[in-house]
């Protein structure tokens, strides 16, 4: 089985793979803390303003969020298929699984965009035009939407990076004469993809289902 080219600093391929894996996990640990600050802020304000969060949550399109959850979970499945296929030198299904993953990720972003547009139309975007008809203090409801937009927005940025990385992987696998040379890189991309997926698994109940 062909392996990725060995970088000059490594003694052998096992060491190179170990380093890549540990590097990715360390990076994901950083990411957990990056989102962790937001989850902390969310927790503090939800405990301070439970009624406002409940009311504000009713204004989200729960079914769009639910569809997106399904889309994202499916994309994680296709990503896992891609990793498996490329590790077993199945180039065709590897590439097609990667393309499916990128397509589902794009679909997620499109649905999210539509949702943002609907939010904007209903004056749910914080700022001067924020809707005033609330039974709670509007600034408390606004806090919910500030967090909603920052958390889902940051998640969307990660999705964008992920779709780009998956497309690059599909291209590299397509171009390379020996697909297994890319197996490790695809696996690392998969780790990142699953992480972004897991973040959404936390965001969905916290933002859409708290009511």
């Amino acid at each position: 089985m062909a392996e990725a080219p060995l970088a000059h600093q490594f003694d052998d391929i096992v060491q190179q793979r170990e380093a890549a894996g540990l590097g990715m996990w360390t990076f994901l640990a950083t990411e957990v803390l990056f989102f962790g600050g937001l989850f902390t802020a969310y927790t503090v304000y939800r405990m301070s303003y439970p009624d406002a969060f409940r009311e504000a949550c009713h204004h989200l399109y729960m079914w769009l969020g639910a569809v997106n959850t399904a889309v994202l979970l499916t994309s994680s499945w296709t990503m896992a298929l891609a990793v498996r296929a490329i590790a077993t030198t199945d180039r065709r299904s590897g590439i097609s699984s990667l393309l499916w993953t990128a397509a589902l990720g794009t679909l997620f972003l499109l649905i999210k965009g539509v949702e943002y547009y609907l939010d904007l139309r209903e004056q749910l975007v914080p700022g001067a035009g924020f809707r005033t008809a609330w039974s709670v203090d509007p600034s408390h409801a606004q806090m919910y939407f500030v967090l909603y937009f920052i958390m889902t927005g940051l998640h969307a940025v990660h999705m964008l990076v992920g779709v780009g990385a998956v497309l690059v992987m599909a291209f590299l696998v397509w171009r390379d004469s020996q697909v297994t040379r890319r197996a490790n890189a695809v696996e690392m991309t998969g780790l990142y993809w699953h992480f972004v997926d897991i973040v959404w698994i936390f965001l969905f109940p916290l933002l859409y289902l708290v009511a």
Partner: protein
């Protein structure tokens, strides 16, 4: 093998491996990247230092006559932000760590050389944004960016400065990732965890903080930017926000950041002390584990910055108790160095003077930290010069002393040159005196009630302030002297042997300066570190044997 006939030319050193600009700015060699960091943080140090000079000049008189209060606010913000994020945090890890981690563990390079280069570019981009913010009128929030002042009221370049710190934060994260992965996966055959030099242990512990604390600062700065640009009140109480939440998030990073500065310094001292005491380090495992303990405990004490911010009494008591606990692993290190010295034969060379200075000044800084961790005392001295003096004893007396000690210790390895030893000894002693004259009066000032961050003060504090300003000018001189003689040493060609100090450690087995790939053959480690032969012990052994 029939390779006879090929001439065994010595390989060129990493410095001679290429002379083009490209060979420097696109280098993947960890040693060259260390040099890039060395040059850039030296420049930032003098930017931050210039601000301090102006502050000390202003404080020579009780009135605000040299600068207005508004300008003074900008000066201490420049000093704090530049010194913390663009000098102290990258100082030992990114310069000495980059240079030494692969050499000390017997690797050819770090695990991710390209990420290493990227981290320098991110650092420079962040640094240029910060300098841009200064040129665009400066920032007046203090390095702590407390809300809602930073988000609502400050009429200064908060966004570019926060963006610069955000970006340079990712350079810290990449450096930390690189070190963690390198130490785990790239150790030479036989280099077990308990044969690692203690500098590696402390750098590893520092990297954990880089990776786990920096992202929290990053997201906090994002929130500040969003609030400032978008006008929504994440931390603004008039819009339902909580300014204390900002303080929690900020100190969750910024307290561990103190250990980012001092842990690598402790690692440097753990290398210098056994070498110049000609003695095996005492309590190797205790020193190693105390680094990890400091890194872990460092995450649990941030609340002691917030005793007057309205924490509940119970929370405050817990934070105070946890803060006391940090003193234990710190003291473990100091006592182990003391015993190493006690049983050794000491050579008073330049690096050793810096290391000894570190031990004394760090101890004062650490013990005054216990005052500040005590609730009642903290209420009295909170936001006074007592705090300023305390953390400068840690950051300058500790981190900068050790950084300079490390630079002097590894200078022959890094450059292949020697510097003038008399000048080295002179400037180390000058630094010690200048430092104490600057900051010891500030303990007294703070205890008497002089608050920090003000350009004016009651006239009865003038004598102590003049002493402090006089000390600062000596301190400034003590930074310039090494800059001159170290730079001057570069004129002559490399002339140092591989191990001028008779030190142990794999880095001293390579030529000075090392070749591009560090080791021709992967080194094999067969014994513990710090195998120093103590001349006294040898003599007494021989006497016994008769």
């Amino acid at each position: 093998m029939t390779t006879a006939g090929t001439l065994a030319l010595p390989k060129p050193s990493y410095l001679a491996a290429g002379w083009s600009l490209r060979s420097w700015f696109l280098t993947l060699d960890h040693k060259r990247i260390a040099i890039l960091y060395l040059a850039s943080i030296t420049a930032f140090f003098f930017v931050g230092g210039a601000a301090a000079v102006l502050m000390r000049l202003e404080l020579a008189t009780p009135e605000s006559d040299l600068v207005t209060s508004g300008v003074y606010n900008r000066l201490f913000t420049i000093h704090g932000t530049i010194m913390v994020w663009f000098f102290l945090i990258p100082s030992i890890p990114a310069v000495l760590g980059n240079f030494l981690v692969p050499l000390m563990i017997g690797a050819r390079d770090l695990a991710f050389p390209r990420l290493n280069l990227l981290s320098w570019y991110l650092f420079m981009l962040g640094g240029l944004l910060a300098v841009g913010a200064i040129i665009a009128g400066g920032v007046d929030t203090g390095w702590t960016f407390y809300t809602p002042y930073s988000t609502t009221y400050a009429n200064s370049a908060v966004i570019p400065m926060a963006a610069g710190i955000f970006i340079s934060g990712f350079s810290s994260i990449l450096t930390g990732m690189n070190f963690i992965v390198t130490v785990h996966t790239m150790r030479a055959p036989g280099m077990t965890w308990f044969r690692l030099p203690l500098f590696i242990w402390s750098t590893y512990a520092t990297s954990l903080i880089f990776v786990l604390a920096t992202p929290v600062l990053a997201i906090t700065l994002v929130l500040i930017g969003v609030e400032r640009v978008w006008g929504v009140g994440i931390f603004d109480p008039s819009l339902g926000g909580d300014p204390v939440l900002f303080q929690h998030l900020f100190w969750f990073y910024s307290h561990p950041a103190v250990y980012i500065m001092v842990l690598p310094a402790m690692g440097v001292v753990s290398e210098i002390v056994p070498c110049f005491a000609s003695n095996r380090i005492f309590g190797y495992r205790f020193i190693a584990f105390s680094s990890v303990a400091i890194a872990v405990l460092g995450f649990l004490v941030w609340g002691h910055h917030m005793f007057v911010a309205g924490l509940s009494l119970h929370a405050s008591l817990v934070f105070a108790l946890l803060s006391f606990l940090v003193a234990i692993p710190s003291a473990v290190k100091v006592f182990n160095w003391m015993v190493t010295l006690r049983n050794g034969t000491i050579r008073y060379r330049t690096p050793m003077l810096y290391a000894l200075g570190f031990i004394g000044l760090f101890t004062i800084g650490g013990l005054t930290g216990l005052y500040l961790a005590s609730l009642a005392v903290d209420l009295h001295v909170h936001d006074t010069y007592f705090v300023i003096a305390h953390f400068h004893y840690i950051m300058v007396g500790g981190a900068v002393m050790a950084y300079l000690g490390g630079i002097h210790f590894w200078w022959p390895k890094v450059t292949g040159r020697t510097y003038s030893e008399p000048w080295g000894i002179f400037s180390a002693i000058l630094l010690f005196f200048g430092f104490n004259l600057t900051f010891f009066p500030q303990f007294v000032l703070g205890y008497l009630g002089m608050v920090r961050r003000v350009a004016e003060y009651p006239p009865e504090f003038q004598v102590l302030n003049v002493l402090s300003s006089a000390g600062a000018s000596i301190l400034g001189l003590a930074y310039l002297v090494p800059l001159v003689y170290l730079t001057r040493s570069l004129i002559r060609p490399p002339s140092v042997g591989s191990n001028p100090w008779n030190a142990t450690g794999l880095e001293w087995g390579t030529p000075s300066p090392p070749t591009a790939h560090n080791f021709d053959e992967p080194p094999v480690v067969t014994g513990p570190p710090y195998e120093y032969e103590n001349p006294q012990a040898v003599a007494s052994q021989e006497a016994q044997n008769g």
